[in-house]
Point group: C2
Chain length 197, copies 2
DNA sequence: CGAATTACCTACCGGACGTTCAGTTAACCC
DNA sequence: GGGTTAACTGAACGTCCGGTAGGTAATTCG
């Protein structure tokens, strides 16, 4: 299955990144030293620099993977036609699936603070995504499909507050698929948790 | 208005804590050095240690202030009677008000990772709060007031995902009061964002 | 005034941090 | 076996980190 690689066996960039991102999420990016990481990997600190030029590059790779996934869904959504609320539901559902599929990467992304250029670039892309969502909610409200008594910007943030909360509690397991979680999110977000309406 | 203090004027623990928590939120706790903080305060690093025995103590003070606020609301909620869904709404609304009132402290709390004893203690109290919420949702579902087609634990997490998202976007300003935001949260959470039902 | 109180400064410590450099080891291919 | 490729080691580096020791400055109270 796995393509046999040449040279001495060990980590490649991909497998190293997996471990790094997991550790960054457990202890925080700033709270994880390269020595912590090397210990977890079972190799020396300097060996990490064979695969990646700096600690920050690991962060860049991770957050880009998350952002690329989200923008794929956004682009997909933009090419749909039909009512805005249906496109919004598509975006919400797709975002949940990306969150679930790339959980460690998105987790790292959502905790970025903006201390460095890499982090600020990630925040800028995040804001762009947020703007897309807000515009979609505004349009759906203009079409009369979204409650008009709440500011669209607030609605957008609340819905994606729900979506993004997945990084705090969703853990992949056999049984509860990501699609089921996406259904739950859409139900609660669009219809509310109360019965009887 | 302010009680005149004795001794040399300057920071006291309270005013220092305000600045510290704000900076921790901007750069992350681990990403903020005591020298960063001293520069922001306009005093030397060692002067900080006149007010507080360690960096971690600043964190403890902050997260405890957030948790105390949340548990006050929870205790208040537990003493109510009536249907569980009404108590749940009270808890949600009250939590939003605490978030808004103690925003910097709650922000710091919600980013704690569990690297130290202080952080693990905070996480334990958070989990206790989460359990209260989940139990309330379960009860409301048993009383037939909450949609039965979503796992109560998931519902609880989604609703508080919405609530907790406030730390990412809510900024106090004249005009939009915290009570208005609490209304918006309750509307979307309980009735959904879609019109017509 | 002097005592009490409170906030602050200079100078420093040991250790942890991210990163570098010059080699070494283990696999594959001919 | 020899060449190629890729992963890794060990010892250092300059810097920044959280924290300490001992003395000083500015205010209030009597």
């Amino acid at each position: 299955m796995t393509t046999p690689r040449r040279g001495r066996p060990g980590y490649d960039l991909e497998s190293l990144l997996q471990v790094a991102v997991k550790l960054f999420n457990e202890r925080g990016y700033d709270g994880t030293s390269m020595e912590d990481l090397s210990r977890k990997l079972g190799i020396t600190k300097s060996a990490i620099y064979h695969h990646v030029p700096s600690k920050e590059e690991l962060l860049r790779l991770a957050v880009d993977r998350a952002l690329d996934g989200l923008f794929e869904v956004a682009d997909e959504t933009a090419q749909l036609d039909g009512r805005a609320i249906d496109r919004l539901e598509h975006l919400v559902r797709g975002s949940v699936l990306v969150l679930a599929d790339r959980l460690p990467f998105v987790t790292l992304l959502l905790r970025v603070r903006g201390n460095t250029k890499v982090e600020r670039a990630a925040l800028a892309r995040r804001r762009e995504f947020d703007r897309l969502v807000t515009d979609l909610v505004k349009q759906a409200e203009a079409e009369g499909d979204v409650r008009p008594d709440v500011d669209p910007a607030v609605t957008a943030r609340l819905v994606f507050g729900m979506v993004n909360s997945l990084i705090e509690w969703y853990r992949p397991r056999r049984g509860s698929s990501a699609a089921e979680v996406a259904d739950a999110v859409c139900k609660v977000a669009f219809e509310g948790l109360r019965t009887g309406s």
